[in-house]
Symmetry: C2
Subunit: 128 residues, 2 copies
DNA sequence: TGACATCCAATGCACGTGCATGTAAGTTTC
DNA sequence: GAAACTTACATGCACGTGCATTGGATGTCA
């Protein structure tokens, strides 16, 4: 019977919804209050911090876009906010001048490392 | 070691994020394109349709608010949209004239029933 | 080389959301 | 019964998002 599947699927969905909402709300609030960072801003710093270790301090916009659940335009503005806050620098790529490299500034690295414990604590509280 | 827990928790979170985003985006698009309904609008109709069966066609705003992940103001505006579309009616309560009852109109019931298969199909595709 | 398609990022715009506040109705305290 | 408090809902406002478009750079093909 399909009805059984539907019920099961609905339960799974409402559970996902609950976890997502509780967690992301608290992440948003904690990061904002404690570190003046939005969740998607933190997420950019996180990815950037990872790939900066690997690629010598650079990451392309397109790479970021592929790794997070954000439209191209939203990402562009998120980066603009981070740049205004001095946490990130934009740099044009010499080989393809359409593309942009992103660099984590020392302030950005510092802010990310300060925020990471908060982030992990919230995740642990909700998902452990 | 805490690092192990953190990694596990991060994986769980990114999985939740993935499922939530894919599912809710497709729900939003399918419901909008096929039935001219936003996801939170559909959710209101869904709850209303359930409790209308039980309570003789009525549900209070506060009840809705408790059952969905939406702020009081957002819910108020969602109901306004539904009312403008003729899918729902607001009615003041005689016993507590601060409170509002919501009624599903025949058009609302019809729209909900038309949209439900779409909704379930998306959930099944992503969560089955 | 010139014309055309494709790609990357930024921006105008509309929209839904949350927070803070306003307004009106009910409740409590004296 | 008047004043202070609480509750229910609506609204002003700021903000982040997605879609569509633009502007500039690159690639392709004749």
């Amino acid at each position: 019977m399909e009805a059984v599947v539907d019920e099961d699927v609905c339960t799974k969905w409402s559970e996902t919804l609950r976890v997502y909402h509780n967690t992301s709300c608290e992440l948003e609030n904690s990061l904002q209050d404690g570190h003046d960072l939005g969740l998607s801003e933190f997420e950019v710093l996180k990815i950037l911090s990872r790939s900066c270790g690997k690629h010598g301090g650079k990451a392309k916009m397109k790479e970021l876009e592929a790794e997070m659940y954000l439209s191209q335009s939203a990402l562009s503005r998120t980066v603009t906010r981070l740049e205004k806050a001095g946490l990130v620098t934009r740099a044009t790529c010499d080989f393809d001048r359409r593309a942009m490299f992103l660099l984590l500034t020392p302030a950005g690295q510092e802010r990310y490392e300060a925020a990471q414990p908060t982030y992990r604590a919230v995740l642990r509280r909700h998902l452990a």
